[in-house]
């Protein structure tokens, strides 16, 4: 079940009502667990078994790590639990990619080879819940949290439906504490949850699902479009992926908030970042902090030599690239982000020490670099990306317009106008302009109603998937 379907708009209020009607916290969390599994099994019952398998492994390994006396045994259980979970991820996500690499090597040596691929369907959300299990096992081992003895609470942490399909990758410490406490009904929680959901729907339905029409039209047919159209499509894709994923995250956080749970923020106006390093403090925050805590710091972080520190940054973003997908394009994308951050660090350009003009230039340069990297992320192969980049610099002309492309551009412009106004005001005038949280009830209600009407009048209601669900 996706957040942008009519089925979810019926499911969510129903779950919320029953949730608040149940007085006993234990029964409530059981109810949420059943609702989460029902939510996930709607996509495929087969996926639910894989999720359940991962939960069982994580639960027992957590208990074994916690109760083991010897460090050697603890390490063994951590190793086994992480290996099993990573193997599940590897099998579903990377088998065909690894086979194709092996095949290329075999072919290079002239030993034959085959182009056949395994028919493996990637379970939705697997990358997200596997990362949750890894962080839980690691935190139990490090003693940051105590292993959860209640199977249903750990299951709820891993399968909590608002976060199940595409994060945020919340830490066990934060969620398990909240699941253990009874949430009292508070209208403010629901109101602020609904406000987040409203803006999330705006981002997804009004901008992201409109931009995809233009981006797909150009990127699926590079030969027939000039560099101007490709450049425009690349900029639209940068905003499409932001609106799609930030929209999903806001919906996820909003749904959890409506039930009284606080989930970490996942986006903080990433395209107003002054450097690529700053971008990663604002984009997919739950993943970047996860990578920092479980990859970068264990590698040595910044408390080592400069060269070693650069290497750690590079490896962390290589892992990020690999996590995103089984394709060389994601690896190049990850490496590019790693290299750009190393350059920034070497040049001391991670933060902005300049005035407003310098800051504007840095924001613009950072956006261009991020935009370039997104081209690798979106296009099917590295060769296609190089071809598209070459075309941007060599083939000029009027941007592509057509039957579906023209309205797509019109609505993208409309959506972008509101998005930029909101992000710029929130970034540079944080205490001056509020619409959803304005002191005046008239401004507040007028803003809610305006955005609701805009979604109805300009949204795309085709139940399209969220981009990050494919990871």
């Amino acid at each position: 079940m996706l957040f942008n379907t009519l089925a979810f708009l019926l499911f969510f209020p129903l779950v919320c009502i029953v949730y608040y009607l149940i007085n006993n916290n234990n029964l409530r969390t059981w109810f949420l667990l059943i609702a989460s599994f029902w939510f996930y099994s709607n996509l495929s019952p087969y996926y639910t078994l894989i999720l359940l398998g991962s939960i069982i492994v994580t639960y027992f390994s957590g208990i074994l790590i916690d109760t083991s006396n010897s460090e050697r045994k603890k390490k063994l259980f951590v190793f086994l639990a992480i290996i099993i979970n990573v193997c599940i991820l590897l099998y579903f996500k990377y088998t065909n990619f690894l086979v194709s690499i092996l095949n290329d090597i075999v072919c290079a040596f002239g030993w034959g080879g085959t182009k056949e691929q395994f028919n493996i369907i990637l379970p939705i959300g697997i990358s997200f819940y596997i990362f949750k299990t890894i962080s839980y096992i690691s935190d139990v081992y490090k003693g940051k949290i105590v292993a959860e003895k209640d199977f249903h609470l750990l299951s709820l942490y891993i399968s909590f439906f608002p976060q199940l399909l595409a994060g945020p990758i919340e830490r066990a410490g934060n969620m398990l504490t909240q699941f253990n406490e009874k949430v009292k009904f508070d209208g403010y929680n629901i109101t602020s949850g609904l406000k987040m959901m409203l803006w999330g729907y705006f981002l997804k339905l009004v901008f992201a699902d409109r931009a995809i029409i233009y981006v797909d039209a150009i990127y699926s047919n590079l030969d027939n479009h000039n560099g101007t159209s490709i450049l425009l499509a690349s900029v639209l894709y940068s905003f499409q992926i932001y609106c799609d994923f930030a929209g999903y995250s806001l919906l996820s956080i909003g749904v959890a908030k409506s039930m009284g749970y606080n989930v970490m923020n996942n986006f903080n106006r990433p395209y107003l970042a002054v450097s690529v390093t700053d971008f990663w403090h604002r984009w997919h925050i739950s993943l970047s902090t996860w990578l920092k805590d479980y990859v970068y710091i264990p590698l040595g972080g910044s408390r080592c030599s400069k060269i070693r520190n650069y290497w750690n940054i590079f490896i962390t973003f290589l892992v990020s690239g690999i996590w995103h997908g089984a394709n060389w394009t994601y690896i190049v994308w990850g490496c590019l982000h790693g290299i750009l951050q190393i350059i920034e660090k070497a040049m001391g350009q991670q933060k902005c020490k300049y005035g407003w003009f310098g800051k504007s230039v840095k924001i613009a340069v950072t956006f261009c670099l991020i935009n370039l990297a997104w081209m690798f992320f979106r296009l099917p192969s590295v060769n296609d990306t190089m071809y598209a980049i070459k075309k941007i610099f060599t083939s000029y002309g009027m941007p592509f317009v057509g039957r579906d492309a023209t309205p797509a551009l019109e609505y993208c412009a409309l959506g972008l106008l509101f998005l930029i106004i909101k992000d710029v005001l929130d970034e540079f005038f944080p205490n001056r302009f509020h619409f959803f949280d304005n002191d005046s009830i008239i401004v507040r209600y007028a803003s809610y109603i305006f955005i609701c009407l805009l979604i109805l009048a300009a949204g795309v209601f085709d139940n399209s998937q969220f981009i990050y669900m494919q990871f």
Partner: protein, 314 residues
């Protein structure tokens, strides 16, 4: 905030939203009634049109049938109601609104596989009919057949006008922008066959015979034939294409045969096939090709009416 306070606030919000939506509906209707181009044309078809011959179909209808040529040959007034990107679903709804006012003497239905036979998202053909929802039971049933949730979705005015806001505003403020002549026809000038690379794919699609037939489209195709007023004469036409096609139109031919409807097939007509100077692209005739085709069509209709002693003019 207590449950009671929250419930009251939420209820107030829903009422205000509903009121704002009603107000937005009034604004949208105002914009639509004053906007130019396709909206003005659609309003004319819906409320004013009283021509003897009407042409229904997709963009092929819009570009292929020249009303003044048909009018001169057949001695009757003609209006071209072809609607770009639409097919049998839209045509059924539009004909139902037209029949409420008057019964045209001749209805020419231009058919094309993608919009009239093939299974695809039918909800996109409802856009121009959303305004008519609630005014005609046949149109309402069409909405339910295409989307079972439409009963609830159509309660919201803003949803009814979904994705029309920008277009309406542009056509409201630039009312002079009109791509259609007074008789509904729109001409394509010249030919871009040799210059456009993207047309290669169109050319390849032409002979794609693999097609899943849509039962909803067939249902409404039959309904169009059955609901035809007794005094109206209906003709189904396959208009010319640049290349020979092997698309199976047997189910339409059969429906026509069973109901004594004239079916004219020009899809593989040698007078058009392969003649680039008659086409704007691989699918659409240019102005010159359209004039030629209209003359041939008018003469064939005239001949059929004379041979079969059918008197429509009176």
């Amino acid at each position: 905030m207590s449950l009671k306070q929250f419930s009251i606030k939420f209820l107030v919000f829903i009422i205000l939203l509903f009121m704002a939506d009603q107000f937005a509906g009034v604004l949208f209707r105002k914009l639509e009634s004053k906007a130019g181009d396709k909206y003005a044309r659609e309003n004319y078809i819906r409320y004013i049109m009283n021509e003897d011959i009407i042409i229904m179909g997709s963009s092929k209808a819009t570009y292929h049938y020249v009303p003044n040529i048909l009018s001169k040959e057949l001695k009757m007034s003609v209006y071209n109601c072809g609607q770009k990107g639409n097919g049998i679903i839209y045509e059924y709804g539009r004909l139902e609104t037209i029949y409420k006012r008057y019964h045209p003497k001749i209805i020419i239905m231009d058919v094309i596989k993608g919009y009239d036979l093939e299974k695809n998202d039918n909800s996109r053909y409802l856009d121009f009919l959303k305004i008519d929802y609630g005014t005609n039971k046949s149109i309402d049933s069409l909405f339910y057949a295409v989307d079972k949730y439409s009963k609830y979705k159509m309660l919201l005015n803003c949803y009814r006008y979904n994705s029309t806001l920008c277009d309406l505003l542009i056509n409201y403020f630039y009312r002079s922008r009109n791509r259609f002549s007074d008789d509904g026809y729109s001409a394509l000038h010249g030919s871009k066959i040799k210059t456009s690379v993207s047309q290669k794919t169109e050319k390849n699609d032409m002979n794609d015979v693999k097609m899943e037939i849509d039962p909803i489209k067939i249902k409404y195709l039959k309904k169009i034939v059955l609901d035809k007023p007794k005094e109206s004469f209906m003709i189904f036409v396959l208009s010319p294409s640049m290349y020979e096609k092997s698309v199976d139109y047997n189910c339409i031919k059969q429906i026509c045969k069973q109901n004594n409807i004239l079916f004219l097939d020009y899809s593989n007509d040698n007078r058009f096939v392969g003649k680039e100077y008659l086409f704007y692209d691989y699918v659409h005739l240019n102005e010159f090709g359209a004039k030629n085709f209209s003359k041939i069509l008018a003469s064939d209709i005239k001949e059929f009416l004379t041979n079969n002693h059918i008197n429509i003019t009176n």
